[in-house]
Structure formats: C-alpha cells, structure tokens
C-alpha cells in the first residue's frame, strides 16, 4: 500500500515531468489477457484536462529528479536548487495500479533524471515495467523514456514490456544542444533511436512470419523538441521532424513550447511568454505532413522559413498556390479536396461519399459542417453562384481574418486543441 510520504514525492516528481509533452496513449492495442487488469485502446483516452487545457491520460512522472547532467532548459539539472526525490520501484507500481483501477489514467509514462549512470537508471525503469506486466498482470499502456547512453540489452528489455519508447532530442539542432546541454551529444540521442528503429522493424517482420513472436514497443517510438528556447526557424524544426519520420520511423514528434524556468542568460528570460501559437502551428504543419500528404517544403522553404502565426499552414499554402484553385468538389480527387482550406480530413471523405447521390451545392457543404466562410474562396461549382473571383491572396486572407476574428478555431481536427 502506498504510504502518505508518497504524497510529497508525487508533487515533486509530477511537477518535474510536466514539461514533457509526449504523453498520448494512442496507437497501441494491447488486449486484456487472462482476466487481468487493463487494456490499451488504439485511440487513447484523455481522462482529465489540466487547467491549461492539456490532456491527462497517463500518470506522467519522473522516477527521480536527481541528475548528474546540467542541461540548461531542464528543471532537474544538477545546478538547479530544487528539492530532490526518488520513487522506489514498488511505489511507482502501486501508484500506477491504484490510479488505473479507479479509471484515472490509461497507463504510465515514466521518465527519469540520470542518477549515477544511464544503465543504473534504465535498469530501474525496466524493472517497473516488468513488474507491472508480470506480477500485476497489467495490460494498460506503458511509455518508458529510453535514457541516452543506456546499453542495448536494457533497451531491448524495455521494448519487451513497454508500448512506446522515446528518446527526446530536446534541441532541434546539434548546435543548440551543444550550447545548452554541454554534457550531451547529438549522437547519444540518435544512437538509441536507431537501435530502437531496427528492433521495432525487425520484430514486426518476425511477427508477420510467426504470430507468436514477441512484440516490441508496439506503439513505436516518439521524440520531443523544445521550441522557442533557441534560435531555430520552423524550417529547421520541421526538417528535423521530417528526418525522424523518414529515417527513424518515428510515430510522433512532439513540439514543446519552452516555458522559461531559469535565469540562465543563454535562455529566454523568466516571464517570456510561452510560444503557444507557434507550437500549435507546428502541430498543424506536422499534421499536414503526416495525414494530408503535404511535403515539408510545400509548407516551409528558404523563401519562407517560418510558419505564419496569423493563419494556419494549410491556408498559408493555399494562398501561395492560388493556381491550384478553384477546386470543384463534385469532381476533384479526395487528395485535392483535403487541401482546400476549411475542409478537414473527415469532411473531405464525406463530400466524396455524398456527391454520389447528387451534385453538391454550397448549402450541402454547409450542412456537412465544413468551414464554408473560409472554403468558399477556393471552391468552384458547376452550378453558377456568386463566387468571389478575382480576389488576390492578400484580399482573401484579409476577408478570412476579419470574418473569423474571435472564433479562430482549429479547423483540422479536435486533436489539435489538445496541445
């Protein structure tokens, strides 16, 4: 049974873990077996929302905030004067089970400062996951941080028990990493990523041949970049993300707007606002790349290295590519319809389904729930109606911004609002 003293540890170690955003529990399907406890659903469930509106789906804690390193952007850094604490293996297990049974969480996200050395730390993380799986017959979601520098054998074991593993790059470029985390090497992060990628791919292949083959990190790996702490532009950030998606088979790249926590002169001063809009734009761009079939350099390029803050990247792309419009939703390909501002992924599919019954007119589109006031500038219909033709992209942008001033909603997906 968890003892009262765990209370204080929990506030310290949950507080220290909260800046890590890679915490969604989706993309793993783990069935409840032998009438045990829990399962993991493909879509994940947010059980609560913080007052800043972020989803709480996992018990996200550090095993300890002791650390031998001194990364400037991190609250747990060696030189920071904070209270230190460490959970025992059993305490983390008890907390996870107790929270899970009450339906507070989908599972555990366990990260850690590095005490002593990487292997010593990693070994404990693995022990917790192993205990949950083997002793508690727990089938809920487990995400472990892979500690850079930990041995391959430990990473191998971690993958046997965890659903997802992540190594955070934290800084989008090597230069920034050198500046802010002098103890760390880019390669220390890349190496475990590469190892995990190969293992994940290898196990998947094996599974195809033999369904009894063990699973390995079925939800894949993810990573996180802190943005706004250093000078990188969005092109560098998205370029890095693209590299992770292409080369490391990354499931997700998370972007974490830097929350100033330090008087270090290398970093934005305390009180500097968190770049939430920029962060949201990056997620939108990431979304376009992963789900809408956009290429990175359609979204940012040397002529325009940063995302617009006032409009979303899809609208931005459309305004730069007016030659692609107007699009006739009654005949166009799904892929092209998805690219029309104001029409999301699901609405595009609905349009393609509904047009089999009749020729769609503007009123039909409005019924389908698309953002018509935005989409109308990019639409053509066979039936004549007042199309606001001959507007320049600047005029369209003005119109859109004026009509949607206050209710500037995320129009791609609900999920975006989570961040």
């Amino acid at each position: 049974m968890v003892h009262e003293r765990v209370m204080e540890k929990l506030s310290i170690l949950a507080d220290a873990a909260k800046y890590d955003v890679s915490c969604s529990s989706s993309q793993s399907n783990r069935k409840n077996k032998d009438n045990g406890l829990g399962n993991a659903k493909g879509y994940g469930i947010c059980h609560s929302y913080t007052e800043d509106g972020r989803c709480v789906s996992l018990l996200k804690i550090l095993l300890t905030n002791h650390c031998i390193f001194d990364c400037a952007y991190c609250v747990s850094r060696k030189s920071n004067d904070v209270k230190r604490a460490a959970f025992t293996v059993q305490e983390v297990v008890d907390l996870t089970i107790g929270f899970y049974r009450r339906n507070y969480i989908e599972g555990l996200f366990l990260s850690s400062g590095i005490f002593d050395n990487p292997d010593y730390t990693m070994e404990r993380l693995v022990r917790i996951a192993k205990k949950l799986r083997l002793e508690e017959n727990f089938n809920g979601y487990i995400h472990l941080k892979a500690i850079p520098g930990a041995s391959d054998e430990l990473l191998q074991q971690a993958g046997m028990y965890a659903d997802r593993l992540s190594v955070n790059v934290e800084m989008p470029t090597e230069k920034s990493l050198k500046l802010l985390a002098p103890d760390k090497n880019h390669i220390d992060v890349i190496k475990p990523m590469e190892y995990l990628k190969n293992e994940i791919v290898g196990h998947k292949e094996e599974k195809k041949l033999n369904y009894k083959a063990p699973i390995f990190a079925p939800a894949g790996q993810s990573t996180q970049m802190v943005i706004g702490a250093t000078q990188e532009n969005d092109m560098e950030i998205l370029g890095m993300a693209n590299y992770f998606y292409d080369q490391m088979n990354m499931r997700r790249v998370y972007y974490s707007g830097y929350v100033p926590i330090s008087y270090d002169t290398r970093l934005p001063a305390i009180g500097t606002p968190v770049p939430v809009i920029r962060e949201n734009r990056l997620y939108q761009a990431d979304w376009l790349i992963r789900l809408y079939g956009f290429n990175v350099n359609e979204i940012v390029g040397f002529d325009q290295p940063n995302l617009d803050l006032d409009i979303d990247p899809k609208l931005g792309w459309a305004l730069r590519n007016m030659n692609q419009f107007p699009v006739d939703v009654n005949t166009a390909d799904l892929e092209l319809i998805k690219r029309i501002p104001g029409i999301g992924f699901l609405s595009a599919k609905k349009i393609v389904a509904a047009r089999k019954f009749k020729k769609l007119v503007p009123q039909d589109l409005q019924k389908l729930g698309i953002a018509y006031t935005r989409a109308k500038y990019f639409l053509a219909f066979a039936t004549p109606f007042q199309l606001q033709k001959d507007l320049t992209s600047i005029q369209i942008k003005d119109h859109i911004l004026n009509t949607q001033k206050s209710k500037y909603k995320n129009d791609f997906s609900n999920q975006l609002a989570l961040f």
Partner: protein, 260 residues
Amino acid sequence: MTQVIYDGTYEGWVTAVFEIYEYKLQDIVFAKNEASADLLFSTNHTVITDEVKVKRVLSGLQKRLSKNGFQGLYNAFLSETNKIEEIMFRYVAYVLSSTVNVEDDFSNNDVLELRKAIRLTGKESHRMEAFVRFQLTKDQLYYAIVEPDCNVLPLIENHFKSRYADQRWLIYDSKRKYGIYYDLKNVSTVALQFNTESNSSKFLAEIGDEGEELFQDLWRNYFKSVNIESRKNTKLHLQHMPKRYWKNLTEKIPDIKGRI
C-alpha cells in the same frame, strides 16, 4: 395527428415503426409511456412491444444498412435528443423506401440529423469512458456515479468489462436511476436506489475502503502538480471538461477536509 405511445425502449420504438405501417398511421408524434394531455392529438395509438414485429423491422433495416448504419440507429435512439424518435422514423421510412443504401446521403436532412445524434451519443460515451471515477468500498467494489446527457451505459459496458476484468464494479446513472454491475463474470443491468447525495467525504467515512481517501488525495495532488500556470487556458479547459461533469470528478471535488 396520431400520438404513438410506446414503452420508452428501443424495441418498443421499433414495434411502433411496424405498427405505423401496419395501421397506416399519419402525422405521428411519439410519446413515452403515457399520452400527452395536449388536446392537439385527435387519436392515441398504444404500442405493446412485440418481438416478432421487432425482428421483421430490424431484418429489413439490416438488409438496407451497413453494419455501422444499423448500429447507428440504436445509438441515435440513445442520444435522447429532442424529437429523435420522429427523426428516426422519417429516416427509417427513407431507408425502407430506397433501393440503395442512403446512409451517406448527407444532403438529406433526416440523414444529417440522425448523424448528429449518433455523433452526440458517441461523444458522450467516449467522455464517460474517460470521466468515470471509481471509488473503492470496504467490500472491494469499485463504484462510480455518472450523469450523462445521453443514455450511454449500454454502449460503454464492454469497454469497462474488458478493461476491468479482475475487479467488481458498478457504474450508476443517477439521471436514469439504473446501473451496470460486473461481478467478475458478467455485466448485468441493475435498478437500484442509490443515495447520490452522499458526497465524497461521507462516502469515505461510511463505506470507503481505507486506502480510498489516500488515492483520491494523490490524484488531486497529481492533477494540481501537472498544471502549468503560465499556460493557463480556462476556455480550453472548460471545453474539454464541461462543468456539468465536475460533481462526479474526483479532481474537481474538494477533499475530505474541504480543500480543493
């Protein structure tokens, strides 16, 4: 105008559909259990749920709808939104009169309204999967009180059954006064009088397991610790966690000493 009175169950409603055709009733309005006293209604027609009729209607629909579309009709019923029975009837009439599958005909108002209701039910059941908060009693029953807008217990039963296979649990809908109970083997529907007035502290003192208070406090503590003050966004917070759910959410209820 005819008022069709049925027992409030889905089967009852399906029987009513059959009889509307059978008796060629016109201008129908549905009523649950008892006739509305409104003088507007010239005739009343009372429906007795009939399995044979239910089967015939359902198999007709099954032939003309996809698996999802068929299930969707039931989900729409559970939404309990205003006039849903009438919308469903018009929708079913459209489905039955058409030779092709019409469930994607989004330019049709009834199709659209039905979809809306399905979405609403879906959203609410997803939320209930998230917002159920079990409390452990002295006799090792995990119980939770919920108060959803839509009648979603039938839809979340399997989720909880496959997730909490090794603990006894009860989820009670205080609005509709019934619950679903899992006894480590099966889930059954139970109608019971539950004193939902008993707030958390009273519960803890009287029937709560001894570890229960600690876990609730740990959860509140966790909830507080993960908040990032400099990113506070109340609008977003409320959008995701509407106030109507708060009274059954541990993290939004003051602890036993009255602290939040």
